[in-house]
Symmetry: D2
Subunit: 332 residues, 4 copies
């Protein structure tokens, strides 16, 4: 496959490396800062670099486009690429809001191209294995999911683009929280009811730094989620409860700690569960696994990757929490 990359920052670079490692061609790069596009292109023989993404999107020699910009450009660039007949892998959250994303999803359906959204956490090995175990009935019917995800920011975090509602579309709930929402939907299915709080407790910024979300899902299961950028020690924890056992994923590697999956299996006599733990201390393989899944989706497989419809659903949850918090503030 010949792939173009729009947005040549940290994530664009990661995408390029994993695409090349899988044997595909990084054929073009685009960044409003041409030097960044050129610097990334240099690593890939024959790769063109441009500053105007319109140029990249209309190239005839590309099969797919990766959109790895900041949030305000994700939806319009994806729309343009889709209209140009390209398959697209767009980074999460794919747009600043569900409303911004809905027309993109419609256009993709019309164009008959494949679009996947980079909810790469689905492809972390601990989460892939948890998903397999759930599907194999290892914990029985699911009851609820508890998720906690957060980091502590860094000096000046409230002056970065993520603190700007125009550029980012929202705060922590849209940034890390949307991963929790997507993962919970992946395990528990469609959301039927949302309540929650988006609040700004620490940072001096007009977007929330903490989002608390309670989801009800079809069948009565519950998602109980908290995302925070005042979580002083980096944390990722997802706990999945079934009627006969529990799965717990901790860590995502690096400063989030070693990624591990614990499987607690209830015994007929109850008491302490049988416990098996798998650790994944190696390199982050989620980017490669996600891209292989994107390839497979282009080849017609259903796959595990998040669709635009998944992203719209996750953004609908975020939007619902924002509305409730806004309404409550108005009332107060």
């Amino acid at each position: 496959m010949r792939v173009g990359i729009v947005g040549c920052g940290l994530i664009g670079g990661k995408r390029a490396r994993s695409i090349a490692a899988l044997g595909h061609t990084v054929a073009a790069t685009a960044d409003t800062v041409l030097d960044r596009a050129a610097a990334l292109a240099k690593g890939y023989p024959g790769c063109a670099a441009v500053s105007d993404w319109r140029e990249l999107v209309k190239r005839d020699d590309l099969d797919a486009v990766v959109v790895a910009t900041i949030n305000d450009s994700l939806a319009p660039l994806t729309l343009a690429a889709v209209k140009a007949g390209k398959h697209v892998l767009v980074e999460k959250p794919a747009a600043r809001s569900a409303d911004e994303l809905r027309p993109v999803a419609a256009a993709a359906r019309s164009a008959g191209v494949v679009v996947r959204v980079g909810f790469n956490h689905r492809f972390h090995p601990a989460l892939l294995k948890a998903h397999e175990l759930v599907n194999a009935g290892a914990v029985g019917d699911l009851m609820f999911v508890r998720g906690r995800y957060g980091h502590g920011g860094r000096v000046g975090y409230d002056r970065e683009w993520r603190a700007n509602p125009e550029l980012a579309g929202g705060g922590e709930l849209l940034d890390q929280g949307v991963h929790l929402i997507d993962l919970t939907r992946w395990f528990l299915g469609d959301v039927t009811d949302v309540s929650g709080v988006a609040g700004t407790f620490f940072w001096d910024m007009p977007v929330e730094d903490n989002g608390f979300v309670c989801l009800r899902h079809a069948g009565g299961t519950v998602g109980w989620l908290h995302a925070s950028c005042s979580e002083w020690k980096n944390l990722f924890c997802l706990e999945i409860y079934g009627r006969t056992g529990k799965l717990q994923i901790d860590g995502l590697g690096g400063s989030y700690g070693v990624e591990r999956l614990a499987y607690y299996r209830m015994l007929p006599q109850m008491g302490p569960p049988e416990t098996t733990i798998w650790e994944y201390p190696g390199e982050d393989t989620s980017w490669a696994a996600e891209f292989r899944n994107f390839e497979a989706a282009i080849a017609g497989e259903r796959g595990l990757g998040a669709t635009l419809e998944d992203a719209v659903a996750a953004l609908d949850v975020v939007g619902a929490v924002y509305s409730q918090s806004h309404a409550k503030r108005q009332a107060a």
Copy 2:
């Protein structure tokens, strides 16, 4: 002090032992099953045993009464003891509902006696130290509290008295959840808004086995709590976030794991926090500490123990969640 114990089960026995160890006299015991009252009395020289608690409550030789029955008797027995001019230590939750407890609180105020409610978790060493650290400003102004508490029940759990709404007044939220609510109020203060879900996911019983609660407190802080009796591996975790650090309490000893307090202190340059952890592997000292606090309250000190007003406030939270869940079910 001369103390009478009403309710001679597991908790009544623990109370008797810690009271005697503190140098007080266990002077009388009462239990509807006289044999149980007698068995407990046998351990304490000169201790009388009766089957009718009315007899115990009216004895002239008692300074204080411990009420350690199941939930449906907690309020009426406390009321009778208060009216008889006794100081009372009543086990949590002190009543089946806030409405049942309010008149008891009024009576206690009229009678000028001291009543404390056995929210003994306040007196676990990790929580005592956390409370001290918060008061000393070790984590700055508080932002939110996250709590998880649960156990996995046992075979037949849904046939025990805790599964009977008439006897228990509610399910897991009233049983373990009320500790989380009390602790969160202890740290964050008065509750201004409640939302939550009480659901029955696993056990075959007419009370909830899981309670999810979101509290808003004066000043805008948040409590985010979950109590469960389908928590397959016993768990107690309370996380307290301030603007300059975090406190995390894990475990309560025994099957809940070693009790430990972790203190994460943010550095000016941010990044990984400075971390100190204290472990408390010894015997459970909360019962003795709580009783000493009760003594001090009788002697006129303010103390750290939970009052009837605290219990009413916690039960109000439980009741609010029950109403919301009931309304939602009606609507569905």
Copy 3:
């Protein structure tokens, strides 16, 4: 099988329970304190209780005898039972010294009875699984074993029988250390060379409270072991290194912490190993598994249990360390 128990203390009681649970008959008990024999017998219908073990050993209605006394009686009682044609399960270390045990081993061989020594640690689930993994080649050829085992004693520990060389035959190295030695031999095979230190660092007693042992095994592998009763926090850890991976067993349940087995598998690219951890939080199943193995040995299977020859070999190691430490003290 009809089984007699000699020595009705803590371990004798455990043995009786697990024997009965396996469907065998506890037919007779003996203890120099007749009350203890009678108390144990009471739990088993038709079980006779005597104070003189000679009486028990010569009974015609017993298939096997369990010898669960303190160390000074283990060898003579086993010898008598063997001579009476009984199969015997004798608690570790089976004697106070190798020299005391060698004639017993010879007599057992002559008598054609089965004797197994209660090195029950072999039958802990984490160790059984580790042994299977090693035999299946999961860590490749073994290189060395590192073992640490210890507890902190208790007030007055140096006044108990374990502190008396006449009764115990030695100190910590003979008590807990002998388990480490047996397990290491189980994994690495025959010992070809021993060096070590037996020292008394803390307790006021004429036997060692710490034993440090270095074993060389056939093929050049090494065992590096330390046993301590001044190990302030209870500890059991055995680390088994192969050319392609490592197995680590931590904990033995109870105050030693949850029993767990970690399996580290090296990848061809090296770097962090693939890791799987199994936890065994349930009841101690080693006693039942060991007795089933004893049954199987009587039925002619080879089995995993320790023989008298294994015990002699372990005691030879202990003796060698004692000689070296004695020689060093003489020289100093």
Copy 4:
């Protein structure tokens, strides 16, 4: 201070950065590969770069020299610098053997200059705090130290300079083991007796990949140490036992895990000890702390840094183990 750096590899670079950060001047660099010297010098204004260390050592404008080469040059370069009247910080192990180092120590004493050896582990915050606690009597009189240190190498490790006895002087025992030996001497004092095994179990190289060492110290304390480069998961653990408590240091940051110090304090009633744990997740501060100590030594303070005499003593231990292992192989 004006400092020259000889050996511009990884460690030389670290030293330069921490020296400059402390406000000193990196005035000259030397490396047999001139490009490396120049690359390092570029970072420091006015810093000269040469390929011949003799040139650097004789410069008049230097107060001190850091010797950060591979092992075979450490002693001769230090000797030359000392003779040129410079203070020297030489990386561990300071020489390939004690015999190579003794004349350097003598020359330094004659020259009246300060030489410190880069046993930087002494200056890790967990070890500094452990040393303070020991000196403050927090664990009472010491009894023994247990140490484990190791890594798993990397593909081709046995083709690197550390596998070459001529360049390295020995294997794992000289490389990581010497840190354990130095730390144990730091806590327990002079060594009176050594036994041990140096063996090659995994790597195809003529130096040992595992060293097992038993030290006896003045006063009868014991050091029980193992260093390994077939330790499949990186490990650093030092356990220090006193009569009233224990200190345990785990991790050194990075792939060795978060550095932490656990302090177990025995209670009069014995049982589980009171436990406090400190974690040090931040940057490695040992290099800066060590250099400040070197400065203080130049200013006449005694300080905590390792002297040439300390290095000679550690190398004597290594040499003794090598002799014993050689003798055993001869005998076999």
